[in-house]
Symmetry: C2
Subunit: 235 residues, 2 copies
């Protein structure tokens, strides 16, 4: 299975979340292709040849991910430019070129997830706000996956980030079938690989591995504390 991650983020260079997800995705190797729209197409104008290239890239993927930070309740303009120009009527509606592929949305939000419900500050759920993408999946005869919502990445501690890696890798690839222990083992294995490969990330990764490998109990306690704080925030 191959996954095409279409990342839309005008500030991709400064985005900690984007970098974090990109690094995580690389652990899956060649089965993942990462398309940073704002980097490759800074003008957001596609030539006929580029449209054909992008359509070919889409056709080769089994799973397509739209990944972006929420900008005014939808993706930044670069994703819309891509949809408007690459997803032609001929490609999607007539040739049914995306039929039976999966469409996943990975969306970063700056506010607490609980703000996104009726009566709360944002008033609408993430599901409602993402409806245009769901409608697109329906029109394209794609399988629309349950979105992965990442809230307040910048406030996450190491344990939460580890959990995010697992959720993200599950979402973009097929490690979902593994048990929890197998997942941990899989991640540690991959982390160790990077630990050996990449000197610059050495300290940070060693710390993460220590946390998983040796301090599981502490992590559980940390998690309980986070949940406690969260439940207090809710009240």
């Amino acid at each position: 299975m191959t996954t095409l991650i279409i990342s839309s983020n005008p500030n991709y260079q400064d985005s900690g979340l984007n970098q974090f997800l990109k690094t995580s995705s690389q652990w899956l190797g060649n089965s993942i292709e990462w398309l940073q729209l704002d980097e490759i197409y800074p003008e957001a104008k596609y030539t006929k040849k580029q449209i054909e290239q992008e359509q070919s890239r889409l056709q080769q993927a089994d799973k397509i991910i739209f990944q972006f930070p929420m900008y005014w309740y939808s993706a930044p303009a670069s994703l819309k430019s891509y949809l408007d120009q690459v997803m032609t009527n001929q490609f999607v509606n007539i040739k049914h070129s995306l039929q039976n592929k999966s469409l996943g949305i990975v969306v970063g939000i700056g506010k607490n997830l609980q703000s996104y419900q009726a009566g709360a500050s944002e008033n609408y759920t993430i599901s409602e706000l993402l409806r245009p993408y769901q409608a697109f999946a329906l029109a394209a005869q794609m399988k629309y996956l349950r979105p992965l919502t990442i809230n307040q990445f910048s406030y996450m501690n190491e344990a939460e980030k580890m959990k995010l890696i697992t959720s993200y890798l599950n979402f973009i690839d097929n490690i979902i079938a593994l048990t929890f222990d197998e997942k941990q083992a899989w991640i540690i294995k991959n982390l160790k690989k990077i630990y050996n490969d990449d000197e610059t990330k050495k300290d940070r990764l060693a710390m993460i591995i220590d946390q998983i490998d040796l301090r599981k109990a502490e992590l559980e306690e940390l998690k309980d504390n986070i949940n406690l704080i969260k439940s207090q925030e809710e009240n």
Copy 2:
């Protein structure tokens, strides 16, 4: 009252609907400002000065209209670029610069309105698909108006187009308080003004005025027929 119409349409020059609405809006004179995004900002990149200009333009309006053809279940990318760049956090969330203004959506769709409901081909209502704009209005503390949906403009006959003018002018300005007869008189007066001003539109407008002025009964019959055809389509 002044209304700012922000029209997003990459094919604005070839769009019959866009031209039709622009001409109609001109009848309201100086109270309407028309901003054709794709014409003024073909690169969809806003300089600091342009952002300030656009923010100033927004502040002077009482009513703001986002007007566009539906492209993959939302506005074309040019409106999103405008939102992403002009509607800054500082302007909208901190200064509350749009507070108490109205936000209206005028959206053109190519399919029958009945396709936009649960179980029909599009499966989601226009209201649902426009949720991101409604959420924006909420965040900006604006009054969100009931959207004006224009379906299948290219199939409309003259009578339907006349009805559209009335609906549209009601929507963008305050002629809503007039009675039906006053509205007809108002439109005829304005049509006649243009008829005298603009030689190129002479024949077309004369025909429209004839239809309203002299063939009201026939128009009613036409309307009944349309309704009959519509109700048969529904079954």
